[in-house]
Symmetry: C2
Subunit: 317 residues, 2 copies
């Protein structure tokens, strides 16, 4: 960390005692010094959230804080890494103490929950944007990569999908139908406060053959996995796990949201059939939604029969 | 790395073979996997550059690429770390291939020179800003921190200072005097293409007692070092090392620039007098500009006599 006035802002809102003995030196010098446990490799990922693009301009600062951390921790979860440290770069239009206080509240609510330490930062003036770099550790051989799926593997997704997509349409006033308040609340919470699947990610070490997180939608992210692994897949639409919120809307729309909307941050992964018992015993419900095939491409099924469903995020691969 | 369309942009411009055997997995999965050498700790720093604030709106894209990496590597140099890996988050107003191509040219010119690998990235749409997170490695005990200066230590700065400050005023058309073209060129190059002192940083392991890089000006950055170490300093103004460019301007302005202008990215460090021979033999010229005192505060000297010089960046501590 250096220069540019972040001392005042970051010291006030973001300096906390680092009780992690792996943090040799935390915020306040030119760089943090971090000890990676012997035998582990470092997993690093970075994602930027821009106002008006990754969250509505009027989003609550606490939600922005939570989500900017969550989307990065989700990438670590997808690798099977233990989340450890993050750096935070905030660009703010003005010295807005209220925003920083609320942002900090949301950010640290998740950081504390997941035992993640902020080890560096930079605060700059400019249009609102947040870049988080998240670091985790794991034994290299246990990393869950995108390129390990094999024909015959089962295809799974954790939790439920499509909720954040419904939430986004509600947030943008693009949902025409009346919805119960509980349904709205559930969908909006999925959008604003996604829960990175860190415990599931580490539990999937040695179980999953490949995996990634669902940031752009099941169809599109599955496409990335299939391409990296050089395989194809069959996906049973009726198997897509949906929340009670999504079950409350028109089933035709629900399946499109579940298949193509992003921001759910569930884990999409593959595993050999021999792992079915292990997966049934995982702490998070994981639903088998299809299987990996040797022939490339994605085939969508309904009751076992291929269906033609040209939806965004699906047709392009 | 995940989502948000960076696949197209980053793959085209930033995917390069990672010949570094410490890169277990590079760009293209949810996170990079990196092997920290046994016995070393990881040094991590992050800095954001915003258009119109950290570089002129009309700055050349190649210069922006160079500088966004340079300011981060400079923080690693200041710790004495060996620079290894970086992630790059770019927010761009539009899909500007020309900008990305030129940005990439400047970024990789420095990355290749310093043997640094890009291991992750994110490209988003929005007002132009760049966040780089730089990672290096070093034995923890050899890290050059800000809090190690002791009374009696010598105070040094590498290279020359004030050139980037002159360059900034030239770039902003805020310099009233006529200057020779060579002087202008030297000052502008210092501003746009700073050279992080990485080789010097690692050479200072076991030599410097404390140090940081000069991003906000000698006076202000020295203040950070003194505060962290709980000491004071005497600084001889006539000893401040100046380039031929700065020697070509009014000496009264030159000393203010050398003392208070930022962006030079030289190393400011302390060392016990027993290290003078070792420092004289370093690959970069380092000039002794003063000494550390037990009493707090900074005393400016001219010919050994205290002078009163209320300049920005100096008066506030």
């Amino acid at each position: 960390m250096s220069g540019h006035g972040e001392f005042d802002l970051i010291r006030e809102f973001f300096t906390r005692p680092a009780r992690d003995t792996n943090v040799v030196l935390g915020i306040g010098d030119d760089a943090a010094l971090l000890a990676v446990p012997a035998g582990d490799v470092l997993a690093v990922t970075t994602d930027t959230l821009v106002a008006g693009r990754h969250f509505p301009e009027e989003a609550a600062a606490a939600d922005i804080g939570w989500k900017s951390l969550a989307v990065n921790l989700s990438d670590l979860a997808a690798m099977g890494a233990t989340a450890r440290w993050v750096t935070l770069a905030i660009t703010l239009p003005d010295n807005n103490e209220h925003f920083l206080r609320e942002f900090s509240r949301g950010f640290f609510a998740l950081a504390d929950q997941e035992n993640v330490r902020l080890v560096g930062g930079d605060t700059t003036r400019g249009p609102l944007a947040i870049t988080v770099t998240a670091m985790g550790t794991l034994p290299a051989a246990t990393a869950i990569r995108r390129d390990g799926a094999r024909a015959g593997d089962d295809l799974y997704v954790s939790g439920t999908v499509g909720d954040a997509g419904l939430g986004l349409r509600l947030a943008l006033d693009q949902w025409p139908d009346e919805l119960a308040q509980a349904t709205r609340d559930m969908a909006l919470a999925s959008l604003h406060r996604p829960h990175p699947r860190l415990a599931l990610g580490t539990a999937l070490r040695g179980v999953a053959s490949a995996g990634l997180d669902v940031s752009d939608g099941v169809a599109q992210d599955l496409g990335h996995l299939l391409q990296a692994s050089g395989v194809g897949a069959e996906l049973e639409l009726d198997a897509l796990p949906m929340s009670t919120a999504l079950q409350a809307i028109d089933p035709a729309f629900a399946v499109i949201l579940a298949l193509t909307s992003g921001d759910d941050y569930e884990l999409l992964f593959t595993a050999p059939p021999a792992m079915r018992d292990a997966i049934a015993g995982l702490p998070v419900r994981c639903t088998r939604i299809g299987c990996i095939t040797a022939s490339p491409g994605l085939v969508l099924l309904r009751n076992g029969q291929p269906v033609d469903m040209p939806v965004a995020g699906y047709t392009h691969f």
